[in-house]
């Protein structure tokens, strides 16, 4: 669809009007979501609460409100942390609603500008549609970082000539891994289970070691790992930014790449991706070709921590004399604890590690402000949330923080660095891999 067709489509069409009305109606406006919503907590404004946003969506669906700029901005002011879903007594599917509302915003063109459209096209329709383009871009960034250009620029003070938003962005750029994830089949030592692994996009180029640790830990637990070359980005970036068609395209590519019937599970180690992948069934519910396969897929997707606990992972052994006293805390990624209701499993794994003493992180399940690209689009709110998170990490006294989502890890690392705090941030599976290696 080109632009003019798209605007014709938008004029006669509303995603929110087309939505099954009972999903909107499910909200009983009781207000239980309000105290758990970071944007309501910060503003105390009803419009910036889940209940308020749903009321706006319903007004659009009822034809009582235009898809105005205020509506559009509010839909994107939401972090999509889904803490409201955890708090909701009535079981409202907020994720589905906010995704639909953002498609509505994009169809109506309520936020269109030349710059925004260019950026959207570059990221959503070009860069994140191809692993090789992303890897190429990451390699360029790697040269910038490894050849000392970054260090030189930072040391020389040249950074201060950049606009503030650019400087903030530069601080958030991930350190690119020296080598990316190898896409080969990994036969098991003693194979009783066969699993697929989605290597992600940011995880692949910036945290390739987390993928290697995931493979190692799965191997250690008797799994054969299948890593199809054709696999794609999960599509969450698209779904969260009003491009459900883009998200569907990514989903179809993954369904083509993995033979779901031959796999016991499809493993993912990034919370945001897992949350998206588990919804492929809903995403493709009207696609006659992929609908069935998507249902099987959604049933088989497992976060790595969820899967390890499900199969009764091997507890790492160690000599009691070597037990350390480093304090370990856990940050609950929104799309794990709220998006997938996974909280006990990563903690069970972390508490099995012999070299750490467990400490509770206050407000562990409160968003860190990363929220996909939110820290780029809404730096003020993201910074407020990051500072809150960092102050809790500081008060917990943790030496190591476990985080199961690359976005959170990058955000928290940037916050720690700004405060000059020396806290390691690791994926739970990397800590488990270390424990196995040190046996």
């Amino acid at each position: 669809m080109n632009r003019s067709q798209l605007s014709d489509f938008a004029a006669n069409h509303s995603m929110l009007k087309d939505l099954d009305y009972s999903i909107l109606q499910q909200c009983i406006h009781c207000g239980m979501c309000l105290p758990t919503c970071p944007t309501y907590d910060a503003t105390k404004l009803e419009i910036s609460s889940p209940r308020g946003r749903i009321a706006l969506m319903r007004a659009v669906a009822d034809g009582k409100l235009e898809t105005s700029q205020t509506f559009a901005e509010e839909m994107y002011f939401c972090l999509g942390c889904l803490a409201c879903e955890t708090a909701c007594p009535a079981g409202v599917n907020y994720n589905h609603l906010i995704e639909t509302a953002r498609v509505e915003v994009e169809h109506a063109g309520a936020l269109d500008s030349v710059k925004r459209n260019l950026l959207r096209n570059f990221f959503l329709s070009w860069l994140f549609r191809s692993r090789w383009r992303l890897r190429f871009a990451a390699r360029l960034l790697w040269f910038y970082q490894r050849l000392g250009i970054q260090a030189l620029l930072r040391r020389s003070g040249a950074m201060k000539w950049l606009p503030k938003t650019w400087r903030d962005l530069e601080a958030l750029t991930p350190t690119i891994s020296d080598s990316f994830t190898s896409l080969d089949r990994v036969p098991a030592l003693s194979s009783s289970r066969r699993v697929g692994l989605l290597i992600g996009c940011i995880q692949d180029v910036a945290f390739a070691h987390v993928n290697r640790d995931t493979i190692y830990v799965l191997e250690q637990n008797g799994c054969e790992i299948v890593l199809p070359l054709e696999q794609a980005c999960c599509g969450s970036l698209h779904a969260h930014n009003g491009d459900l068609e883009g998200a569907r395209a990514q989903a179809r590519r993954n369904l083509d790449a993995f033979d779901v019937d031959l796999l016991d599970a499809i493993i993912i180690n990034a919370a945001g991706c897992g949350s998206q992948m588990k919804h492929y069934d809903r995403l493709l519910e009207n696609d006659p070709v992929y609908m069935q396969k998507a249902k099987v897929w959604s049933k088989k997707v497992r976060d790595i921590t969820e899967y390890l606990v499900e199969i009764g992972f091997r507890k790492p052994q160690s000599d009691p004399a070597s037990h350390g006293t480093a304090l370990l805390a856990y940050h609950e990624a929104c799309h794990l604890v709220h998006g997938q209701k996974i909280s006990a499993q990563p903690k069970e794994i972390l508490k099995s590690l012999p070299h750490y003493t467990w400490v509770e992180l206050p407000e562990a399940a409160w968003c860190c402000g990363s929220a996909g690209i939110y820290n780029i689009t809404h730096p003020d709110m993201a910074t407020t949330l990051l500072e809150r998170k960092i102050s809790h990490i500081m008060s917990s006294g943790a030496h190591v923080l476990a985080s199961a989502n690359p976005g959170c890890t990058l955000q928290i690392l940037a916050g720690l660095k700004k405060q000059g705090m020396n806290v390691r941030v690791e994926h739970p599976v990397s800590l488990l891999a270390d424990a196995y290696r040190n046996e």
């Binding site: 109606q25 499910q26 009781c30 207000g31 239980m32 105290p35 009321a55 706006l56 409100l65 079981g91």
Partner: protein, 458 residues
């Protein structure tokens, strides 16, 4: 709203404290009451008593209606705007001004969240007992304006029993202070009680002095199931006659039990007609003895099963059966209408049976749960607002249930308030004389009828 008024309000409060955009107004059009929406003229966020005084002086002079609102969790439509009115939202007046351990009191602004007050009290070894279902987000101001209850009414009473003094801005803009920190105070009319459950029709509450109590040292939790509602009701009566005053005696009917089990998977037996959640708190020796006695009494009345929680974790699990009642029912149907007909304790079984018969008669689904200890029931109608035929039957069912509650010596609302939702049933309860007195009181405080007009009665 008239630009002249908006600019005067902006001068008073500052631009960011006055909302007039259509999107902003739309989201202050509701509270937690189903099927009610009205758009206000503007929404204000004052942060002091003086600002509220100035707003009311202006509104009174200009004859503009003022509707006060906290977090908007009311269940009777009490804070639904009047068309083109000013909404005064108190959520930014959210400071706990003082916790006085010597006098066991807390002085708070109206926008303090109930749960925050409870936390602050607990941090001092004290306790604020009223615990409405929305405790995590409801404001103290809203609790006072609605005289909110909760699960501990039988032993600890309701919000009214904790209000010692109030600061209220009257319609004229004058500031009234009523009540003191004294446990004994008989000076003049007990004006503060007039404002408790007045739902913003007599003044705007701007400061509250609340009584706190020592935190109980221990708690025991029991869950029992019964083959009939009668057996559960008799158990409750016998426990009270023992005499034991438990802090909680909560009840679920068969329909609610099956919805809760579907939703929360607690392991509740589905072959029972009634479930009781019982809690006693106080000195460990006393709670131990009372828990044993309650278990014995339940068994004597034919309980199918009695579980006593061994630890806090299990207590939490058992209590979740009751706490899940409302959400579990809410998931079953698109529209959930939660009512709170209340009868004297000894008429409970009769009332519950009547509700079930009414559901059959009108072919509607009603799950009933509630506070058996204090006679406060929550018949919950499961329906769909788009189904006009069913909604009509629901309304007929409602009316009969309220009539029955009144006939049994009960009331149309135990803790949610009259607001808009039960306004038409109030005259039958209080009679013509009662209505006249209500009108006289309203006229004395608010001669121009600017404060939340049209609520409670006409």
């Amino acid at each position: 709203m008239d630009n002249r008024i908006v600019s005067r309000l902006t001068d008073l409060l500052g631009e960011d404290r006055v909302l007039t955009k259509p999107e902003d107004l739309l989201v202050y059009g509701y509270d937690a009451t189903p099927m009610m929406h009205e758009t206000p003229g503007c929404v204000l966020f004052p942060d002091s008593t003086e600002q509220i005084g100035a707003i009311l002086r202006l509104a009174n002079a200009e004859r503009i209606a003022v509707v006060t609102r906290g977090s908007g969790t009311g269940l009777s439509g009490g804070s639904i705007p009047v068309p083109h009115c000013i909404v005064v939202c108190t959520v930014r007046m959210d400071r706990i001004l003082e916790i006085d351990r010597a006098n066991l009191t807390a002085r708070v602004q109206p926008g303090v969240l109930t749960a925050k007050l409870d936390e602050a009290a607990k941090a001092c070894g004290l306790f604020y007992p009223p615990d409405p279902g929305s405790i995590k987000i409801s404001t103290i101001g809203g609790n006072v304006a609605n005289n909110s209850g909760g699960l501990r009414g039988l032993k600890y009473g309701v919000t009214r029993d904790y209000v010692m003094a109030l600061e209220v801005v009257l319609a004229s803009g004058d500031i009234l202070r009523t009540g003191t920190a004294c446990m004994k105070d008989v000076a003049g009319y007990n004006l503060k009680d007039l404002f408790v459950s007045s739902q913003g029709t007599l003044g705007v509450i701007t400061e509250i002095l609340l009584r706190l109590v020592p935190k109980p040292a221990s708690k025991r939790t029991l869950l029992a199931t019964f083959p009939s509602i009668q057996a559960a009701a008799e158990t409750v009566s016998s426990i009270i006659a023992e005499p034991i005053v438990p802090c909680t005696l909560e009840f679920l009917d068969r329909m609610t039990i099956s919805c809760v089990e579907d939703y929360a998977h607690i392991g509740l037996p589905l072959d029972c007609e009634a479930l009781l959640l019982m809690e006693t708190d106080g000195h460990p020796l006393v709670t131990e003895e009372e828990a044993r006695a309650m278990e014995r009494i339940a068994r004597e009345h034919g309980a199918l099963q009695v579980q006593i929680a061994k630890d806090d974790f299990e207590a939490e699990r058992l209590a979740s059966a009751r706490r899940s009642a409302s959400p579990a029912l809410a998931r079953v149907a698109p529209t959930t209408i939660l009512e709170d007909a209340t009868v004297p304790r000894n008429r409970l079984a009769e009332m519950v049976t009547f509700i079930q018969k009414t559901a059959e008669k009108y072919q509607i689904r009603i799950g009933t749960f509630g506070h058996m200890g204090d006679g406060n029931l929550h018949p919950t109608f499961l329906t769909d607002e788009r189904n006009t035929d069913e909604i009509h039957r629901v309304e007929q069912g409602f009316a009969e249930i309220f009539e029955k509650a009144i006939a049994l010596g009960g009331t149309i609302t135990g803790e949610h308030g009259v607001g808009l939702a039960k306004k038409r049933f109030l005259p039958a309860l209080i009679g013509q004389v009662g209505l006249n007195v209500h009108r006289e009181v309203k006229r004395a405080f608010d001669p121009n009828m600017i404060l939340n007009p049209g609520k409670i009665f006409d």
